[in-house]
Each structure stands twice: as structure tokens, then as C-alpha cells.
Amino acid sequence: MIGFQCCSPRIRGFLFSTLAGLVLVGCKGKDDADAFSNDEFPRDTLVIAYQSDADTLLSVVSQSASDSAIISNLNYPLTDSQFDCRLESLPALAKSWEWSEDGRVISMELRDDIQWSDGVQVTARDIAFTMELVEDPKVASPRISYIQQMVPGKRPLVIDDTHLEWHFTHAYDPVTQMSHISALAIAPEHILRTADRATLRGNVFNREPVVNGLWKLGDWSRGERIVLEPNDRWTGPADQAPKLRRIIFRILPEYATRLMALERGEVDLLEAVQIADADRLRRTHPDIVQHRRGWRFLDYIAWNPLDPEDYKAVNRGVTTGSKVDLAGIKRNRLFGDARVRVALAKAIDVDKLINDLLTSRDTGERYGRPAVGTITPALCDVHNDDIPRLPYDPAAAKRDLAQLGWEDHDGDGILDQDGQPFRFTLMTNSGNPRRAKASVIIQAGLKEIGVDCRIEQIESNTFFERLRKKDFEAALSGWSAGLFVDPKNIWHSGPEYEFNFVSYSNPEVDLLIEEGLREPDPEKAVEMWRRLQALIYQDQPYAFLYWMDEIVAVHKRFQDVDIDILSPINNLHKWWVPADEVKYKR
């Protein structure tokens, strides 16, 4: 037998020092992390699992949900929001406001005790500067639409440090008006006035932001974690001061890893927990509490009424936003007829989809509900519950199609007309197991009535691009619903609305959208939106499938957790942990 030794002591020493050298790269010394150890409150750390890192900490150029999550905690909002069937604005930086009689001017009074973290007072001029950035084409702010209904030069009009006026070109829904002016986090004019506006996304401000909110940026290791700590220069209401020591947004792109990190206790909060995992967590981890967010996400099938090939040929070279003549484009031989779309809707068993995909096996709790439109049921008054759902009735669907000339003439089990089979491709995005399963269930349902549906899963970017270019026959896709009503992007027939993937065109709907958005009386607007939903449902441009409720899992040691439809991490400053349950004492 031969004994082996790895290597000589000298080589072993070399190897260890090499490895140690490699891993020491980036090691920092002990920092001043006990800054809050003498606080009177028991403090703990909240670790939130996030799928992706933030890109920027500047609201005017922010784009992703991760950006918003961080920014909303670093900045004190102009107005706070709460949601109970409708969005409601609450005082924050703006301590009061009032509308003019004609509904076109909002006068605001700001608090005078809010400071930036460098000690400079937050004033109305910072707000005007923020809107100036939004307006500047060089910035290319995704929020540029916010100012389109404001009077130039008065976006807002600064009266003095604590008073300003917002002038609108016309009166419209007050909730939407308020959300247009309060959705942005304010940018510090004294810091960013001289910044190059064309490269704001990469500005050094992102690494060392000057904030005015309850939290400040502690550390940002890109791709790894973002640490927020209580803003020790917070000068606003003392009762709003955070009760946690820090919040860590831990970037873990893979869902399975995030879930296992939650189970192991390495993270405390996980969004979008899948239902089967929620069932298992309920059984195995009583220390994890599950919250429901509310009906925010919709799945639907978009039927393309136009012939994709003809559309492509006619529009070759036409740029986005240009006028496209849809009238000259050949109709899709299947979905160009609303009666076919209605018949297909009757062959899709939405209740089965909800039972199979969105219902807890353990508790029978349903996380899905049938959809009749793109307005979320969370908007209780606006959502039209009175629309009678098309029943699941495959026999009726088959009958309807037969009346339209679709029958199985050649006995191959597939309906046909003029020798052409009823065959189409249902496109969906890859990487979404729920939609993959849903498409198979839908395919089986359609097969029962003699419709040959072929499924195509494609990469998400390509999927979205093909939707925008109307390069599909049918697509299983989804929307995240807005909490104020603005259906124009999806349903208005104007050429600039590129999210109207199905080229939906109904003059009455166009008119309702235009008038509804300009209607200052909320009750009248509600009636218009309800009518709009009924009209669209009648036409079935989509097969509306289900609304989904998201599950958010949080460790039970956190108290006063208030998870709502606005955000799972709203009001983090209220969260606290009892002294005997604090996990991270430093």
C-alpha cells in the first residue's frame, strides 16, 4: 500500500496563502455597525429576498420594481397613499392641499421641517426641479407622461419654499391627478442642478444619495445586497422613525434559492411564493406567516384579429408611434370574427384553471378569481361585477362554431372550413410554469371541440417584441394592474398605444376612454368605466382568464406587518420585533 501526502509543507503553505489571498480580496475591516446599539428600542434586521438589483436610485429615471422599492424607502413622499377599494392620498411632505373650483389647480402647503440628509431643507423648488428633470428630453424619463396634462411653466408653480400650485390643462379624475404628482421621489436641486442630465442613470448620486426619507443607504454591493439604515438626520415626525436596525435587500435571482434561503432563515421576506410552496411552508415552517397582497395580476389570451403576415408586409419600415392603417390589413381567418372568439371563450374552463393552478391543495383557499376585464377587482366600485361571465360550455362552443361554418368535414377530429383546419399557435413566454401549465389545460379544452391549438414557448424579450409587433396568432400573457384607471394604453385604437396588441378598435370604447380620463366627477367616471368593461367583454378581444393574488411570506417575529396591494414593503418604518425575539442583536 502506498501512502500519499498532498505536498510538501512549503507547497501547502503556498496553497493556503494563495487561497487566503484570493478570498481576502474585498474583505473589509470591522465597521461601525453598532451605531444604534444604545437605542432604547430592541432592534433587529429585516432581510428581504429580491430577484434583481436596482439600476438607479433616482426616481426620475427609475424603471424597475427593485428601483421603486429602494427609492420609496429612501425618500419621503409628497403624499402618502393608502388603498381601500381606491387610492387615497394622505399628508406626508405636503401637509395639506386643495383643489380650485374648476378642478384644474391644486394648491399645496409643504412641511417646513423635512431636511435632506446633508442638512439642507427640502423646499418647493426641489419639487419643481424634479419635474424639470422629468420634462427634459435629455433625461428621457419614463415618467414624461406625468407632465403632459400640466400647464407648461406651472409644473408646478412655486409660490415660496413651502407653497406651490399644480396647474392642469383640464380637470380630470382627482385620484389620477394626485398620483401623477406624488408618484415621483423628489430630487435634491442643490446636488443635481449641475449634473449632466444625459447620464443621470450613472450619476455618482446613485452611490452616495442625499435622501430625505426615513432610511438612508448604508451599503450597495451591486448584484449582492443593498443595505438601508435608519436616517439619523430624519427631521420629520418622530413617531415615524424606523424601529428596525437595518433592512437588507438580498439579491438572489433564482426563485428556488430564494425559497430555500427563506426556509433556512437566511431571509425574512419573500414575495410571489408559489402556491404549492406556500402549502409546504405552512406545514413545515410555522414561524413563517403568509400574507395576501390582493388582485394585482391578470392572465389572458390575446387573440390577434389581424393576419400577422399581412400586418408585417404592410408595416415594413413603419416606426413605433406612426400612423398605421389597420383597415387595409387582412383579417385573421380565425380570430377576425368576434363570434369565433366568443365561442372559444366558452371552451376554456377558467374554473378548472383556477382549481388546478391557483388553489391550495391543503386548505382549498383560492388565489385566483375569474376575470372579466383588465380593471382589477381591487378597485371595488369600478370593477364591473355585473358582467355575466360566458359559461364554460364546450357543446355550445362547438354549436356556435358550426353555425359559422366550422365543422369536421374530413373526419380527422379537427374542425375545418373550405379545406382549412381550425389550427393556430398559442404563444407564451418561457420561464413561467403557471402559464406553461395553463396553456396545456387550454389546449386540451380546445381539442375537445375540435380546435387544434399548438403551444409555442419563447424567450420573454422575444415574446414581448412579437406582441408589440402583432406577430402572433394567440398569446397567453398577463398584465399587472394599475391602481387608478387608465385603460388607454391597452384598449384605445390610437396608433401610439403600442400595448393594444390586439388592435382593438371600438369607437365607443375610444370615446369612453377619452371622456372617462377627463371626467372630474369620480361617480360619473365609475359609470363610464363599468360600461367600458361591458363593451370590451362583449367583443372578447382577449379570453380573460383569472386574477391572481400574490402570497408574501414574512417571518413571524416582525410585528405590525401591513402588507397591501400597494407594495409588500410599504410602511417598513412601522415594523418592529419584540425584545425576546430579536435575531440579529448587532
Partner: protein, 322 residues
């Protein structure tokens, strides 16, 4: 040797050009571009035009290509479009993390692979040889994605012996002493390193075994035994040194696999390295960043191969570079 190295480096130029051209074409063929994320349906056409002009995306593809090559020749790799930061600033943040993981993994897979292969060869057809062969084949065939998740489930969730993901403890690392920080980094590296390196180690073990079995049949090994040298000396001094020569080639060849494998491993383990940068850049169609990433990867791979060639030269005096 200088001539050899210079010639190798010169050969890198057409290789880099080929890689960059191919990547550019692939990015152009993919739908949309990086500026899509700046726009909403309400974005005015003049704003769209301004942004497209700023990034040169309003130019014909040929012009964009020539401009990109000209910029690269002058060392100008440009800015990431979504982040508006110099691409080398982004790469500079992440590359050390990937190199750290890859090199530690390389040591692991070379060390483990050689030891296992050697132990098999000296006990050919024993139960140990058979078991290691089967286990090696098993791990060699395992998809990295699956293996990584199983390792996490087993060692991090069930046994609670190792951390699940990340480079360091997200909460406590900043409060640790330097020694604790070093240990923290090491333990965080074990699972991703294992996921990245196990298949490679299994491969090295197979090669080492085969190479050793071939070498021990050689005359000089028989001569050494005939001269009365101890078996240990015969194996380590005479057989192993010669058997390791082809393994050195594998050292260089493993580098590309480590870098490409790190894309998946970094994604699963939340390791903030180049793999994640590439994936994000591809999803965001961030052409300048994609090009720069592949440029750096190509250089690393060429560098790895060059090091392997030079090592070959050092350990085998019979070889002369021409």
C-alpha cells in the same frame, strides 16, 4: 519563448475580432434594443429620437459596427446603456469575484481530480477504483443547475452546515474581524465551488487514471522498479510527473468551462460575478456591455491556454516552443 508568446498574442487579434463580430451580429438579430426600457407608449417621438441618437442606434447597422470596431481599437468600450456607467467600471466590480470563484474551483478540481485518479490507478480494478469510476461518471453527467440545487438542499437546508448563497453573510459580515471575514468568504465559496468544479474534477480523475495506467507500463518505470526504488518513489517521482503532462493541457482547457459554467452557478448562488453581468446584459440587450464582457472572457481563455502552454514547457524539458 518571447517569440512564441508574441505569436500567440498576435493570433488573439483575429480571434477577438471574430468573437466580437459574432456577438454583434447576434445582438443585432435579437428583438428590440437596450433603450426600450426608457420608453412608455406616451414617450414623445422626439425624445425617442434623441435617445437613439445619443447611443448611435439611429445609424445603419454597418455604421454602428464600424464605429464599435473603431472605438475598440482606441480602447474605448463605451458605456452600459441601461446603467449609463463605463462598462469597465461594471466589469471591474464583478470580474474579481468570478476570478476568485473560478481559481479556487480550479485548484479544487485539479487537486481532487488528480488525487482521485491517482488513487484509482494504483488500485486498478479494485472496489475503490470501480466505485470512484461510477461516482465520477455520475457527477460528470450531472447538469450544473440540478447539482447546484441539490447541493444547497442537502448541505445548506437539510444539514444546515453551509450557507445557501451569496459571497458573504449579508448581515454579520461587516461586523466580523478580518479572520472571521476570511472564514466567512471561504465557507460561502464551498457550495458554488463544488457545483462548478465537481464535474471538472470527475473529468480530471478519469484523465489522470488513464494517463497513469499508460505511464506505469513504460520502460522507465519498470527500470526504476528494477533498480529497487521504493514503490512510493516510483509512483510519485517517475510515473506521476509524466502522467501529469496531459493534465496540464486540461488546466488551460478547463478555464473556458469554468467561466461559462460560472454563468449558471452565479445565477443560482446569487454570486455577484461576471456571469450575472452577462446574463443581465443579454436580457437588457446592452450591446456595449455584452461586447466588453465577451472581450474580457476571450482574453481570459486565451490567457489560460497560454499559461497551460508555458507550464508544459516548464515541466517537460523535452518540449521546445517553435
Amino acid at each position: 519563448m518571447i517569440v512564441y508568446v508574441t505569436r500567440k498574442l498576435l493570433l488573439t487579434i483575429p480571434l477577438l475580432w471574430g468573437v466580437i463580430t459574432l456577438i454583434f451580429i447576434l445582438v443585432q438579430l435579437s428583438p428590440g434594443d437596450a433603450t426600450d426600457r426608457f420608453f412608455t407608449p406616451e414617450t414623445p417621438p422626439e425624445v425617442r429620437a434623441m435617445v437613439m441618437e445619443k447611443w448611435g442606434l439611429d445609424q445603419p447597422v454597418g455604421v454602428q459596427y464600424i464605429r464599435m470596431l473603431t472605438n475598440l481599437l482606441s480602447g474605448e468600450f463605451g458605456y452600459s446603456i441601461p446603467q449609463e456607467r463605463p462598462v469597465f467600471e461594471i466589469i471591474g466590480e464583478k470580474l474579481p469575484n468570478t476570478i476568485q470563484l473560478s481559481l479556487v474551483t480550479l485548484f479544487f478540481l485539479m487537486g481532487t481530480g488528480v488525487l482521485l485518479g491517482l488513487s484509482q490507478a494504483v488500485r486498478q480494478y479494485s472496489w475503490w477504483d470501480n466505485i470512484v469510476s461510477v461516482v465520477s461518471l455520475f457527477f460528470y453527467s450531472m447538469p450544473t443547475f440540478w447539482l447546484a440545487l441539490v447541493l444547497i438542499l442537502l448541505f445548506a437546508v437539510k444539514m444546515e452546515a453551509l450557507p445557501i448563497a451569496g459571497m458573504t453573510d449579508p448581515v454579520m459580515h461587516a461586523m466580523m474581524t478580518p479572520t472571521e471575514q476570511l472564514w466567512d468568504r471561504l465557507v460561502h465559496m464551498i457550495l458554488p465551488g463544488a457545483a462548478l468544479g465537481i464535474a471538472g474534477a470527475a473529468g480530471i480523475a478519469r484523465y489522470t487514471r488513464a494517463s497513469m495506467l499508460e505511464v506505469v507500463q513504460k520502460d522507465y518505470v519498470r527500470t526504476a522498479r528494477a533498480k529497487g526504488a521504493a514503490e512510493r518513489v516510483v509512483i510519485t517521482r517517475h510515473a506521476l510527473r509524466n502522467a501529469l503532462l496531459p493534465i496540464i493541457t486540461l488546466f488551460g482547457l478547463n478555464l473556458p468551462f469554468l467561466f461559462s459554467g460560472s454563468v449558471l452557478v452565479e445565477y443560482i448562488f446569487g454570486w455577484p460575478g461576471m456571469g450575472r453581468v452577462i446574463v443581465d446584459a443579454i436580457f437588457q440587450q446592452d450591446t456595449p456591455l455584452i461586447i466588453a464582457c465577451f472581450f474580457v472572457y476571450t482574453l481570459l481563455v486565451v490567457g489560460g491556454n497560454l499559461i497551460a502552454d508555458l507550464l508544459y514547457l516548464l515541466v517537460d524539458p523535452r518540449i521546445r516552443l517553435r
